[in-house]
């Protein structure tokens, strides 16, 4: 075979490669040229017809052709790939605004979310977090808390009674007695949970709601300590420095007892609809633990003192999310719950 023939095969092969417009045409060309029966592959077979002396040169020449074709193929491939990349980069039909497809996720109840956040705050401040019984006895719910039988304060606690004269706790305060009887003073503890009041339900009243009670027992506890603790605690809860005020409030298990108001966070105390134009929002009840309560729990009031507070978790949740109907909290409606993902 003449050199000119080889050149012919070569230029035909390169033309075929260059003519390929996409990867599949290129693959076809590759098979047609370099496959078992490809025109370029078949060139090697011609070597038998070449005189032995010239075989070396012929072989080299054939290899050159092969090499040129392989290079051409590689080059063509790179070109195609580059064109494809450029085309993808230039493509403006890809829609990034299509909605996300989420993994199937559930939700945590808003009350759990708020409660957990409060618990975290208290844990960070060195409090125990405890959980006490919901069916209680009269002693823990009333008597030990300085609310003897026929005390008018029992009116504030319309009570659910069981047939066997137990009751559903009307507040989380029985936890005070249980905590004092089990924890080694000094200590600080909070106990959130469900409480029950015998009253009809409407948008702002529920017979079942949630409270969070707090208790600190130490050797010397004053109103000044309580004031400071409430200020720190409420600032932590709301994540901003707050102004609070204490004013007289009546709870039989504390003496003195206080209502603790927070300066309205909406108007900063100037007065608005939320604070009913008073500049203050009533937030929790608190006070120094009544000596009778310390005694009921087995602590000597001359040795130990304490403060306690109780706040309405359900109410806090409603405030936080602007929920206008308390019945949603215990309502189990997915249309409500899904809003708190």
């Amino acid at each position: 075979m003449e050199q000119s023939q080889l050149e012919e095969v070569k230029s035909a092969a390169l033309a075929q490669v260059m003519a390929a417009e996409d990867e599949s045409a290129l693959r076809d060309a590759e098979v047609a040229l370099l496959g078992k029966k490809g025109t370029v592959s078949l060139l090697s077979r011609g070597i038998s017809q070449v005189p032995p002396k010239e075989r070396g040169a012929f072989g080299r020449a054939v290899n050159d052709v092969k090499k040129a074709v392989v290079e051409a193929l590689t080059h063509a491939r790179e070109g195609l790939r580059e064109a494809a990349i450029q085309s993808e980069l230039d493509d403006r039909s890809f829609d990034v605004t299509l909605p996300g497809i989420r993994p199937t996720g559930g939700t945590m109840h808003p009350l759990s979310q708020v409660q957990e956040r409060l618990e975290e705050t208290f844990i960070a401040m060195g409090y125990h977090v405890l959980d006490y019984l919901e069916v209680e006895d009269e002693f823990h719910n009333f008597e030990a808390l300085n609310i003897p039988a026929d005390h008018p304060a029992r009116d504030m606690h319309d009570t659910f009674w069981t047939k066997d004269r137990l009751l559903l706790r009307t507040h989380t305060s029985p936890g005070q007695i249980r905590a004092m009887r089990t924890l080694e003073p000094p200590f600080r503890a909070v106990f959130p949970g469900k409480v029950f009041r015998y009253e009809a339900i409407d948008a702002s009243h529920e017979h079942t709601f949630h409270q969070l009670e707090g208790l600190m027992i130490d050797r010397h506890v004053s109103v000044a300590h309580l004031n400071s603790s409430m200020q720190i605690m409420l600032s932590q809860i709301f994540g901003q420095e707050l102004t609070i005020r204490l004013r007289p409030g009546y709870f039989p298990f504390v003496e003195p007892g206080f209502e603790c108001d927070v300066q309205c966070m909406i108007c900063g105390g100037a007065g608005c609809r939320v604070c009913k134009h008073s500049g203050w929002v009533e937030f929790l009840g608190c006070g120094l633990v009544h000596p009778n309560v310390l005694r009921s729990a087995g602590l000597d009031p001359d040795e130990w003192q304490g403060w306690a507070f109780g706040l309405g978790l359900s109410r806090l949740v409603m405030m936080q999310y602007g929920i206008d109907d308390i019945r949603h909290i215990m309502g189990g409606d997915l249309r409500f719950l899904r809003q708190f993902a």
Partner: protein
């Protein structure tokens, strides 16, 4: 309770003070005010007029043409009120053209039925003074031609005191007690009550009290020549402002004294009281007997019990002590002789009777607080003094008959002044303490040891002030809590125990919400009875309530599931695929009167639009297994025993498509929960559309009471594993767990590392195919195919022998 600013001014000169500002101070230092209301504002243009003539309007039955004298001249008004017809000569109230009523109505000259009308004769309601709107307001003892606020003190500021905030302060249930506090707050002086009335000497009333514990003091006196008529306008205005409807001078004055001093009283018409041969009224205070009844003033017949206390004449009960008088002896317009009662009753007695009868009155609300036993005498004199002012002929003909137990002596409290500073956390001088307590009516004496001897005034001594802490509160509140600088408590230098149980509960919640994709709900501690009934469940074994909001909530929940089913059904109206869970306490009775077991449980429910119940069951089972892993308790596993074999008996559980979760608690195999499909009968009544329901419940407290095993690292394998898949045909009643156990047992080799089900197909004719993926591995070299085959063959032979399994492939 409503407190009138005008009324307070009777006891303290508050001139120049702003009732709103003083109200703020009262909230900060005494008790919370729920509101401060201005009443009678904008009534300056309203005038008093005399009705000169009234004529019917032709063709309009209800209308009258009225000519009134307004002080300057006559004007003509058309009026539709029925009571105007008989009002000729009376003084009424005119809203002249140009006046605007509190409800926004602007008065204009008008022509009605062709008759010009120069204004409107107004009712109390139209003036915003009360709800009275039966007719126009007719005044007594008022001249025509005056501006209304000049004629009658209708303009007032009313404080609405939060009753809960004064539960412990019987002294604050009247204007005088409030005035005492206000005097201290404003640094003005409290006027003493007016002098006593002149009493008579006739022995026409006797009193006998059978139980001085339940009635510590009873006083009575007889008043003759009483002229019952409407109260003067000033008195009516005060009563209206405080929410009490004026009736007649005698009744109004009993209310007035109650609202002033806080001691309820009662007036009897003596015509309806029996007398003895000596013309004496014999009052007896005694316990009721359970066969008795009394018709109270409100016309209701009340059946009595022996816990009730009665006021009786010599023949019959005439009043329910401290709660309400009897209907017969009430004051009428022609009453001339009045027996006045002023007494103190035991709080518990009044509370019990009023609670049982559901009869809460202004009187019972006060007696429940335990009133000052020194008060009845003051109240009786106060009544008589005021009565004689408005009814000068009235004469007290008897002495004050006064039966009482020994009145309590003032209670002394030894107060260490240093303790006041220590408890409040701010320095308070002895002088300041002495001064503050004295202003409030405490008597303070210095003692040589530095202590103060403090005597509590009788009006604070019944339930309120008894110990040092109570005195500290008095000083603290008047110092002003905002004047106590906050002081951080000393740090407790002790690492707090982490609340493990709480943290695990959070872990469970996170897994169930974000791992398993369920939605957390909260439901009542009660079980929703209609759901239980629809499910056909036996409600026994649940704590029964004695009082219920509704019959639907009459028992506590023993399981979380029925409430969750209720929620599932509600939500199935909107969605067909979802899962709910709740973490909460359930209640398991132990014995009557003993606190029940109240474990925290986690319950979940899956609602899936599928007919493949086995698949649904597996999905939920996976959720629970994942929960156990999340809690670090992988040892809790499903027992393959069917529910029917292990006593899962609630009607909503599926006896043959349920199972229990088991763990080892202190060497004892313990049930910690269950998983089940809905019983087919329950499925028929619970409407979840085309979706099927499966649920689980586990006792978190029980699970978490067992320490989690230590988790250990396993070295990564050095040699590759060989895998082998096998399928068997077995009877469709053979459980996959049994097949799996047989494979492992038959293999009898530690080289079989895992045996996982990947197929379970029902073939019909009582057969099914189960396929397992087997994994073999050596730690010390590569396994040969022969070794694997040997083990598989042993398993196949064992399965064939023990379960009659036929190898289908492998």
């Amino acid at each position: 309770m409503f407190i009138s600013w005008n009324w307070l001014n009777r006891h303290v000169d508050l001139s120049g003070l702003d009732p709103h500002e003083v109200g703020q101070l009262f909230t900060l230092k005494v008790a919370e005010l729920d509101g401060i209301h201005d009443i009678g504002e904008g009534l300056e243009a309203i005038r008093t007029v005399r009705i000169e003539s009234v004529e019917p309007v032709e063709g309009a039955k209800k209308l009258s043409r009225v000519v009134v004298f307004d002080g300057e001249g006559e004007r003509q008004i058309v009026c539709g009120a029925p009571n105007v017809r008989a009002a000729q000569g009376r003084v009424a109230v005119l809203a002249p053209p140009g006046a605007t009523l509190p409800n926004g109505l602007e008065i204009r000259e008008a022509e009605i039925r062709g008759i010009a009308s120069a204004g409107m004769l107004a009712s109390q309601k139209e003036l915003g003074l009360s709800d009275e709107h039966a007719g126009i307001w007719l005044l007594n003892g008022i001249e025509p031609g005056m501006s209304l606020p000049d004629a009658i003190p209708v303009q007032d500021v009313v404080w609405e005191v939060d009753n809960k905030a004064i539960t412990h302060r019987p002294d604050l249930w009247g204007h005088y007690g409030i005035a005492r506090e206000v005097a201290v707050l404003t640094e003005r002086s409290l006027r003493p009550l007016e002098p006593r009335v002149t009493l008579g000497h006739e022995e026409r009333v006797t009193v006998s009290v059978q139980d001085l514990v339940r009635c510590p003091r009873y006083t009575a006196l007889l008043i003759e020549d009483v002229d019952v008529k409407p109260s003067p306008e000033w008195l009516q205005a005060l009563l209206r402002a405080t929410g009490v409807r004026p009736i007649s001078n005698v009744v109004d004055l009993t209310n007035f004294v109650m609202l002033d001093l806080g001691n309820p009283m009662h007036a009897f018409d003596t015509r309806y009281l029996a007398t003895n041969g000596a013309d004496q009224i014999e009052i007896t205070v005694r316990a009721a007997d359970s066969a008795e009844s009394i018709t109270t003033l409100d016309g209701v017949i009340r059946d009595l019990y022996d816990e009730d206390l009665l006021i009786c004449d010599s023949e019959k009960p005439v009043a329910l002590a401290g709660i309400m008088g009897g209907a017969d002896s009430e004051i009428r317009s022609d009453t001339t002789s009045v027996l006045l009662e002023a007494a103190t009753f035991q709080s518990r007695t009044v509370r019990r009777t009023s609670a049982r009868l559901g009869l809460r009155t202004d009187s019972s609300a006060r007696f429940e607080k335990t009133l000052d036993p020194y008060l009845p005498e003051k109240a009786a004199h106060h009544f008589c003094v005021e009565l004689q002012k408005i009814c000068p002929k009235a004469t007290v003909v008897t002495p004050l008959v006064d039966i009482s137990s020994a009145l309590p002596a003032p209670k002394p409290i030894h107060l260490d002044p240093k303790l006041v500073s220590s408890r409040l956390g701010v320095d308070i001088s002895v002088g300041h303490i002495r001064e503050t307590l004295t202003k409030l009516g405490f008597v303070v004496q210095d003692r040589s040891d530095g202590y103060l001897l403090v005597q509590v005034p009788s009006w604070r001594a019944t339930k309120d002030v008894a110990i040092v802490e109570d005195l500290i509160e008095e000083i603290g509140r008047l110092v002003g809590y905002s004047n106590i600088p906050p002081q951080a408590p000393s740090v407790v230098v002790k690492a707090p125990e982490l609340p493990i149980a709480k943290l695990q509960e959070r872990q469970a919640r996170r897994y169930l919400s974000f791992g398993a994709g369920l939605h957390e709900v909260m439901s009542y501690g009660f079980t929703w009875r209609p759901m239980l009934d629809r499910l056909g469940a036996d409600p026994s074994g649940r704590i029964e309530m004695d009082n219920t909001i509704s019959a639907e909530l009459d028992r506590m929940r023993r399981f979380l599931i029925p409430n969750l089913l209720n929620f599932a059904e509600k939500n199935a109206r909107y969605e067909s695929d979802f899962g709910l869970y709740e973490i909460g306490r359930v209640f398991q009775p132990i014995a009557p009167g003993v606190l029940p077991e109240q474990p925290r449980c986690a319950g979940g429910i899956l609602v899936r639009r599928t007919d493949d119940h086995e698949r649904l069951f597996r999905e939920l089972r996976g959720v629970v297994e994942g929960l156990m892993d999340a809690l670090g308790r992988p040892a809790v596993r499903l027992e393959s025993t069917r529910g029917e074999d292990i006593g899962l008996r609630e009607a909503w559980m599926h006896p043959s498509r349920s199972a229990q979760f088991i763990m080892d608690v202190a060497g004892t195999r313990t049930e910690v929960g269950f998983i089940s499909l809905l019983h087919p009968r329950a499925r028929d009544v619970i409407d979840t559309g085309k979706s099927s329901v499966a649920f689980f419940e586990v006792d978190l407290d029980l699970i978490l009471s067992i320490a989690s095993g230590p988790q250990k690292y396993e070295p990564l394998p050095k040699y590759p594993a060989s895998t082998f898949d096998v399928s068997f045909e077995v009877s469709d009643t053979t459980s996959s767990a049994d097949v799996q156990a047989a494979i492992v047992e038959g293999a009898g080799s530690e080289l079989l590392r895992a045996c996982e089900l990947f197929g379970n197909y029902y073939l019909g004719d009582g057969k099914k195919s189960v396929s397992f993926h087997l994994t073999f591995r050596r730690d010390d070299g590569t396994l040969t195919d022969e070794q694997v085959h040997d083990i598989v063959n042993r398993s196949v032979a064992h399965l064939s022998a023990s379960l009659g399994a036929v190898l289908r492939g492998g």
